[in-house]
Symmetry: C2
């Protein structure tokens, strides 16, 4: 196997653990805190989790290890989209498990949760693990999006565990996967299987965050990678002085990724979906907001700029959501047949015009044709519009071009507007984890094993005080049920971990809000450059602006 020089060098990197975990396994004792309750809907959550609800918060300390000596057989899965550092969670878990007892065994179930159903696994050994230390990707065992949520699936998982003598499962995933981890933990407890479940908080989107989880892993590396590129694009814009770059960034519904990238790079504009929603902004208002910056800069002779667009923004525009619902309704089931039978776009357009309400048609008619066609032609297997495929970076630049053309006619704008488009997503999910993510993930995995060893079930591996150096981090565990509330999903009340959106009264947004008017008209770009793994600590060990602002 040919590997890159950086990969070879990263094999030698020793991730930093919190001080309390550094003394060796024999020196890790546990300290139990108060009993917990869920963030909301306590009674309902307690009723759903009678065996795992209300457990105590726990913290590890330096001291005599008092856990029971028994052979541990553990299984681990990676669930959902890739995030840098996933490999290190497994490496940390493996190292703690083997340090505790060389006879302990770690199973890796392949391709996500489905590996547990299909009993498709590998057993880790040093040689295999060593190839993945401090590397990006989830290729160590693969990942997948199957959900473990039905009783039938749980029964199969229990069988698989019994067959291999597995007594604990570690689930590395996002909010949904950790919700399912809690449900599985409750099932195992109720059935007295003796199998524990521990979750680890993963997602580049940054939306798995609450008073216990300061940040999900992967967010640091992914946003640094996108910020590297946005910085490079900004520098290019400021050198050539002729293009407006519209940069869409991944991140699903929440705008944490966009906001963090804006804090790192100081672009001229960054839309925040949560603000669009709160202010009930229309597409036209958003386009005017962007056009204002384009025009102001043009008036100063600067016909260039950088605008960051969060992936999920169009879903937050009220009128656009209505349009999408109407389209889904218009083409539901067999109704699509009549539409599909029409030969030309003109005929299809007439069909659409007849089928949409006037309000939605007003929205539809201002969209560029390519987006109009995308809405009707690229639908998912259920016939629904695929919102994530909408090229919103092109949508907004087209709307802005229309606004500017109108202003030109009115004589209020005299500049040139040449937009270019980018989508940053897959480029950052599998980068080599930053030192922060390498350390954080290794600690999460190491810590997850300590929770197993001390017999906890339905807990999330929790590392906190993350804005400080790793030596000051605090290792412990929190019952997953503490983070849950009841939400309406697909017409049913379900216990779930609350997804964190950007808080408009939070410090990161407030900082952005206080500066954005300046950034909009000045050229205040910051160029973070590529992630550095070596060099001065201030270059290679500092985590996100979001976390720094939240903890300041």
């Amino acid at each position: 196997m040919k590997i890159s020089p950086l990969q070879k060098a990263r094999y030698e990197y020793k991730p930093k653990l919190p001080l309390m975990l550094r003394g060796g396994i024999a020196e890790i004792s546990v300290s139990e805190g108060a009993e917990t309750k869920s963030v909301a809907d306590c009674e309902k959550i307690q009723a759903l989790f009678p065996n795992t609800y209300g457990k105590k918060e726990i913290t590890f300390k330096k001291g005599q290890n008092t856990s029971t000596a028994k052979k541990q057989v553990v299984g681990v899965i990676l669930s959902g989209g890739q995030a840098p550092g996933g490999h290190n969670v497994i490496c940390g878990l493996y190292d703690a498990l083997k340090s505790t007892n060389p006879e302990n065994v770690l199973y890796g179930f392949k391709n996500g949760p489905i590996g547990l159903i299909e009993d498709n696994y590998i057993i880790f050994d040093d040689e295999y693990i060593d190839q993945y230390r401090n590397t990006g990707g989830f290729d160590i065992i693969g990942s997948g999006r199957t959900k473990l949520e039905t009783k039938e699936q749980f029964a199969i998982v229990a069988e698989v565990c019994k067959k291999h003598g597995i007594t604990a499962i570690v689930i590395i995933g996002g909010d949904d996967s950790n919700t399912n981890a809690a449900v599985l933990a409750e099932y195992f407890a109720a059935k007295n299987t003796g199998v524990q479940v521990i979750g680890c908080p993963k997602t580049i989107d940054g939306d798995l965050k609450n008073e216990d989880i300061e940040c999900s892993f992967g967010f640091d590396t992914a946003t640094k990678t996108y910020s590297e590129l946005i910085g490079n694009i900004g520098r290019d814009a400021n050198s050539a002085k002729k293009y407006w770059h519209f940069v869409k960034v991944m991140g699903r519904s929440a705008s944490h990724v966009a906001l963090e990238c804006a804090l790192q790079t100081q672009p001229n504009l960054c839309l925040i979906s949560e603000e669009v929603s709160a202010k009930k902004m229309s597409l036209s208002q958003i386009a005017d907001y962007i056009a204002d910056s384009v025009a102001d800069r043009a008036a100063k002779g600067m016909n260039f700029g950088v605008a960051i667009i969060p992936e999920g923004v169009v879903e937050f525009v009220p009128e656009f959501s209505v349009l999408i619902s109407e389209i889904n309704e218009l083409l539901a089931g067999s109704k699509a047949d009549a539409f599909n039978a029409l030969a030309t776009w003109a005929e299809k357009y007439a069909f659409i015009e007849k089928g949409l309400t006037k309000a939605s048609m007003d929205v539809f008619s201002i969209l560029p044709q390519s987006i109009q066609q995308q809405l009707f032609l690229e639908r998912d297997p259920h016939g629904n519009v695929q919102v994530s495929l909408i090229e919103s970076e092109k949508l907004f630049s087209a709307l802005v071009a229309d606004k500017l053309a109108a202003r030109k006619k009115e004589g209020t704008y005299k500049g040139k507007f040449s937009p270019l488009h980018h989508f940053l997503g897959y480029e950052g999910r599998c980068a080599f984890p930053s030192n922060f993510d390498a350390d954080y993930c290794y600690s999460l995995g190491y810590n997850a094993f300590m929770l197993i060893q001390y017999g906890y079930n339905g807990y999330l591996s929790k590392i906190s005080n993350l804005s400080k150096p790793a030596s000051e981090w605090i290792a412990g565990g929190m019952p997953i049920t503490k983070m849950m509330n009841i939400e309406r999903r697909h017409g049913e009340d379900k216990p779930v971990i609350k997804k964190a959106l950007v808080e408009l009264d939070g410090k990161p947004f407030k900082f952005f809000e206080a500066n954005r008017a300046t950034w909009a008209v000045e050229t205040s770009y910051v160029y973070p450059g590529a992630i550095q793994y070596y060099g001065p600590a201030e270059v290679c060990d500092i985590t996100t602006r979001t976390l720094a602002l939240e903890k300041e």
Copy 2:
């Protein structure tokens, strides 16, 4: 001004000079070699450059500096597209100029060659220069694409030089800009203006390369940045195991960038435009070639992959070139009016069908509609198709999808094909220069001043032996006319620097060719990771695979 931690750290980096330039200005002597002649069309080139043709190759050595002491006033411009390291060329030039005599003056003309015409400049001082050391971008003075090529322009430039007492101009640019530098040098010599012209070889495209120029600056950093991202995408593909990523990379006509990225990342596929041209491949053949790899991998259970597409490839497909010419002809001048008057795409399509030859219509009809429309709707100010805007990554994935659908019907393919698309270009042109580019560019600039100081005109700053450590690099100069031949451009015979395409019998391509069958069906991805500026030398100081293979 807020700057990033990396930018702050990079200010402290001391670029490495070739040993022969390290002893200080007083210790740099010159050694003249043989007289030169142009690579082809010697008589014609000599006739066009009577004053600057045939000059001697020169090399710098450690020894007594014998140049004449006089106050130097120098102007510098950045020309064309951004390339990492441009700032360091100017820093090296400035440092050599000021070390020689603190009274010397460096003018930076703004926004490219037009700055010389408009007399729009700044005068560099330490404080200003220090903000740009080892940084990416061309924002130090901006760049532009105006060409300096007419006698009228030259006369204005001569006036501007006279006004400021400028006795030398350094032109940092690609093949065209250096060609124009040679023409300007000849003009100045013929007119006895006493103004010297020195060129520096810039372009991320890597197509300014010949027996004197081992590589143009910026190629190293840009390809490392793209390879970082392609590696990350490959790791994502190999983790999720469900997408085929089609990655178009910048690089204009030549495929040097694509090939270097392929050598660094070992994707499943990389098209090489020069090979497409040599083999006279049709779109259908290319699509089949890609579909073969998709099908072979699917048969092994791998419904994912990475394919690199060089930006210029469609121009090299003979049938596609013909199609483009016919479209340009069909819509030339007022003929476009009739087309534009048609209301629907169906009517336009009928117009096109009538206007194209059968052979071109056969090609046109297999294109996805979005590409068909792009060819007809997005034309440049002269009414020509904008080939660079063609989303060839989407074109090929659509053609491959058609091929696979046909194979599925035949029963020869049973996989799933989900393509995703990327275009990497602006993300890499303004990255912080790698240590290689930081050193190389600083040396080019430092060396350019030594050529000025020793009185040379019409020379290219030449640093060679680049596959070795910087201490072993060789500094000198080469008459630009040596690299020239006569080519037919826009119906005229013109003296130009020959553009370097990928040589199909060269070692980089041969290495790729020998390995690509394996890479196509195996998953042999290499993950280079982000450019490192600190750390072990093998991680942060090594240049491209292309150069290593060419010099091995």
